[in-house]
Symmetry: C4
Subunit: 374 residues, 4 copies
């Protein structure tokens, strides 16, 4: 990627960042970042499902001052817009995870770092000492490796462990298989010294190198007991990321989860699962206030955030938008992208008659099909 | 805009006027007049929602003579088709608001003038001394300015004050931001002597000049009490423009509104709010006959008017169609556009078996999904 | 239209005839035959609504011999596929209505002649002495003219009068208005000697010549009493063509109609009325077996016919397909088009497990939305 | 078809095989293999209906080891993915049915051979001596011919007779009619010595040669009694292929069917019948566990298989995908295609939390419209 100076003032929406990123990334990178599983039906649905929801705006609520402040597990955050974990961010921009963390420190509510980062978890933590930050965990077949990651995350100051439960195997993203995706040689999985763990993703034995990495090294035999185990080896709160049903919500709570992230992994795992915003209501209902529920998947605008909050999410996390932001000049790009989204959220709140996050409620959103009941 | 003679007899529908306007306007003007907020989902829906309604036509009703006469707040008007307020009409045609008023005098039921007109409210009033006319009010942070506008409107003979409640901030229309929209230097907001109030909209500090105007000068802290205040400072009836929910309908009535205009500001404020025709039934039900309900948004044909009336609107207001009309030769263009719509309404009434406005009722319209209940 | 020899064996569906016709007709003719009212939403819906219905096929019913024989008002007809009235058929092919009648004699169940034919009703009758034939009536302001038409129809051997009730005014078909449609000078409305009645349609005073004809000469003041009057002046059965609601079905029966044709005039009158196949069930239910119900509008294939019969229509009538057939070589074209449709109907019956028309019932069709109730 | 070496490692989905096949087949072959009846509405629906179903994935189920093993009529099979009968497979590849059988021996659960094969049923059987295999029967007007086929199938080791009940006549596939489809001269229907039975399909008398073959030679007068008769002349289990309603399910069971295949013949018979996956639930409900229910039609991916099983099918059969596979190098092509589908099924099971086929249940699938009930 030839580094050319980007004029960020020309970007007015997340979509502008996306268009720019797809122009500057090479095919390997674009394929890995953009793809969804198989036919990419859920990929499209993750966005379309937001478009099918309608905001019922309330007027004359005195909205001169809007605050997006809220809290996560009791800690105050400036905005419910947070950063989702995505692997190997230095492919998006040489400054990668650290740049992302720096931007998040000032403009996001919280930050999740992926296990598969191209910057070590300690270095990333140092880039955002005061940031509310969580460490996303993939469980390796070798439990020592796993334990070591958890302990280092604790030591580095992460505030929670985010257990991703939707990836016993990597989903099949056709274009990655076709292109035999691999991590470029100049980068490595920076959380590992062990050559196998750090570099296996730089080669392909015929399909996606990442798919092979996951299949050979990660533990596909996790059960809900694994949550209990994780709780037993760390004092940090444990979030379960990847819940898509009421049934699993109940189990997650039963086995000790401290929060739930409704996620379909950006539509990258199993194609034709529902859009996350569609299953949010059933998860929120099953959680019944016992744990906080967050959401990621397809959030691209302030009204998307508004809708997720109205349906009961306490926060939303951004996957690809962060990568688009990185592509537009690293830290500054992510920051501007986050600012646009925060401005859009504020405007949506004002125009819907909500001065603060707690004003946003279930009455503010209906499905478009509501209006066919004429 | 090079003034070329337009042959109006070639225009057979509102859409013909639209196509012509988009050809003759420059990018700044087209963007400002045509855009909706953000992704423009509601912009499309405002029109599509009408297409999803079906008219149930009744036969053999003796429809030789059709009358579109009706009344607004007790005053007889020749047609329920009226003119919505839109800002800065001289951009559409040099004759602007006055030409529009002259056309409305003969061919519309009523006329609303925007606060942000490029012709003074007094001059516009003089162009239509006998027209049923209303003054649309934006409340300035400086209450003296506001009061002065109301008093001048009363003095100039306006018959009601229309309080727009959906614009504490201007909605974000991406292309206006991109183009850094400003009012061309030859025009000014003609209701103000104060240079700031009149000309702030001629500059941009990085985005839409109008957005900056609204943010810096208008009062974003209005509440329902503001309606009560407005009622206390004027003897004119007060309409509340921008209601989209049953809840706000109830509040509007409680705080003294004399009529309600269901409007989403032409889909220019908050994207993904419902189409106006979709929420009309809930507003009409909540009003329960206590105040009259009008509608604007997406009305482009006689059948659209018919459907709005069937669902309980007493009148409809036209935003963009007026501007398209202006573009086709000023007064004559608006007049011909209005005549086409009135002819279409008459024909729709005849073919649906309605001799007069009061014959149009709830049984005449169903949602297309009604027919999937086979 | 240059008469070139057409190889009819290359036509395998109604759509093939349509494509050919649109190639050989001039703009004036294509516009008049193809157009629907205004935005042509109902025009599209008339066809699409059939596509949204699903046939539930039954197996192993011993379908070696299929019969399409049925009866209309007690008279046996070889097929429920009949010919709808359309005006001025010599524009489609010089042999016009007579060629159409000859084809119908052998391959359709019944034939309706339009009041506005370019061949006299007597000449058409003579072309099909044994055909089951009906005369479509437009009521002229001059009741003598009307009476005269009815009496001549009786004398010429027509078996019923079909009163079209959906045309107090002609619907607005934008392209006809744009093109200032007129009947070409070599043809005239052949049922009239009076120059005004015969030729007024050959000129335009600014819009569609036919629209002006209807507005100036036909009676827009018909009521249900007019049905009673018509019954009083003829011994023939009277069909009411253009019923679209349960309410009007009840009235039609009350005022003496002998049969009802569900029709929206080929989507040429009021745009955004429902597709005819969509309202058929409500009309059939309201008729409750007291009179026979027929349908026209959008019938283009054997499965369309099957669906209409399954939903309670006793016969279907073809408008445009007849004109497409004429365009492909007059009588032979219409005949081949009818044969294709009849073959398709037979095949549909066989594959759905119906040996005879009376085997087709309500259980054979469901709306596609039925399957979303999973 | 010029035989060029195909690199199968570049094929990552069934759709890749399809694209390749459409490139290498001539028009006659492509038309015959790809077409659906008439407007091809059901053809599209057979695929789209799968896309409208959503998988509800369950997490943390310990899915290291996935087994697709299941059973059909008590016999264990390695996968529920089986091969549907399709006629004249040597048009797809010179090795035709035998190559297909060899691939199925190792990678499919079972195999059905068409009556109209271009390799004799004995030769095909020999290509897969240990394969679980069924013989698809068309009943000839000449019952001796039919009986002979059944007896030879028994003798050759087929494990069941599959009676296709949806083809009293061949459906009308417009492009076959247009192209006057015939079997190329180098091939014949290899189950017959009789020249008429073997070669009538190599000529056309004006339309599709196969349509004429079916009309002149097959028995269109079958009834449910024919199932009873078939049961009386063979000791093999009899499957009924082509059931699309609850009513016929009940009859099939009543008349002795041992299993039911929900099928609309790949949308090639009656256009606008429902997609097979849409009617599966009603058939499964009517079968009520008394016989096994299988499905074919539109299965193109592992998630399609998963959905069919979740809705109660015990196995699925592939029609066109097999032909696409053949086109990509005969046996090896079919095998790789089957492996891709089996891998996709395993991955879908893992990501949905199912270790074995019996874990897949009704709770795993909802229709997308479920989520509009917000
Ligand atoms: C390129 C990419 C890499 C990802 N890597 C991880 C990961 O390492 N761990 C994880 O839990 N989720 C990962 N995700 C999923 C995200 O955390 C998140 O669920 C998803 O991206 C949200 O959807 P969105 O991209 O539409 O915002 C990744 C997503 C993308 C797009
Ligand atoms: C260019 C433009 C300017 C507008 N300016 C105003 C305004 O100054 N005050 C106001 O209350 N509404 C304003 N509106 C909203 C209109 O009054 C009306 O609600 C809307 O245009 C109706 O939708 P339609 O354009 O689809 O007919 C404006 C609309 C447009 C298109
Ligand atoms: C060109 C044209 C002329 C028509 N003229 C008449 C007419 O003179 N009288 C009448 O009752 N209906 C008339 N109709 C309506 C037809 O009788 C019929 O209702 C309609 O065409 C059926 O729809 P279809 O064209 O989709 O089959 C006409 C329709 C067309 C297309
Ligand atoms: C080219 C072709 C030939 C077929 N021939 C037969 C046949 O001879 N006998 C039969 O029972 N079904 C036949 N079928 C139907 C298939 O068995 C099966 O029902 C259908 O192809 C499944 O749909 P799919 O193609 O979408 O997988 C044929 C299908 C195709 C595409």
């Amino acid at each position: 990627m030839a580094e050319e100076k980007v004029d960020l003032s020309n970007f007015v929406s997340v979509n502008d960042f996306r268009k720019h990123a797809l122009k500057v990334w090479d095919a390997n990178t674009s394929s890995y970042y953009e793809s969804g599983a198989n036919e990419q039906i859920t990929l499209k649905e993750n966005l379309d499902a937001f478009s099918r929801l309608r905001i019922r705006p309330r007027m004359l609520r005195g909205v001169q001052k809007i605050s997006t402040e809220t809290s996560l597990l009791g800690r105050t955050i400036r905005t419910p817009i947070c950063v989702a974990p995505s692997a190997m961010q230095r492919m998006a921009h040489p400054d990668g995870e650290a740049a992302n963390m720096r931007a998040a420190s000032t403009d996001a509510g919280a930050f999740i770092l992926s296990s598969l980062s191209t910057t070590s978890l300690e270095d990333v933590a140092q880039a955002g000492p005061n940031t509310y930050k969580f460490y996303q965990l993939y469980v390796y077949k070798d439990r020592e490796v796993t334990l070591n990651l958890v302990q280092r995350a604790e030591a580095a100051g992460y505030n929670a462990i985010v257990l991703t439960v939707d990836t016993p195997y990597l989903g099949r993203r056709d274009s990655d298989v076709r292109l035999k995706f691999k991590l470029p040689p100049q980068y490595r999985l920076a959380n590992f010294d062990n050559a196998l763990l750090a570099k296996r993703v730089q080669v392909s034995q015929g399909g996606s190198g990442l798919q092979e990495y996951v299949a050979s090294l990660l533990d596909a035999n996790l059960t809900w007991e694994s949550v209990r185990w994780l709780k037993s080896v760390t004092k940090l709160p444990v979030f379960v990321k990847g819940v898509m049903t009421a049934e699993d919500t109940t189990l997650a709570i039963e086995f000790g989860a401290d929060a739930i992230i409704v996620s379909n992994h950006g539509a990258r795992q199993l194609d034709t699962v529902p859009a996350t915003i569609e299953v949010l209501p059933e998860v929120v209902a099953a959680a019944a206030g016992r744990v906080e529920v967050y959401l990621d998947g397809g959030v691209r605008s302030g009204t998307d955030v508004f809708k997720a909050l109205a349906l009961g999410a306490r926060a939303v996390f951004l996957g690809r938008p962060i990568l688009y932001g990185l592509a537009a000049g690293g830290e500054a790009g992510v920051r501007r992208m986050l600012q646009i989204l925060n401005d859009e959220l504020k405007l949506a709140m004002a125009l819907a008659g909500c001065k603060q996050i707690s004003d946003i409620n279930r009455q503010h959103v209906v499905h478009v099909s509501h209006f066919s009941k004429l």
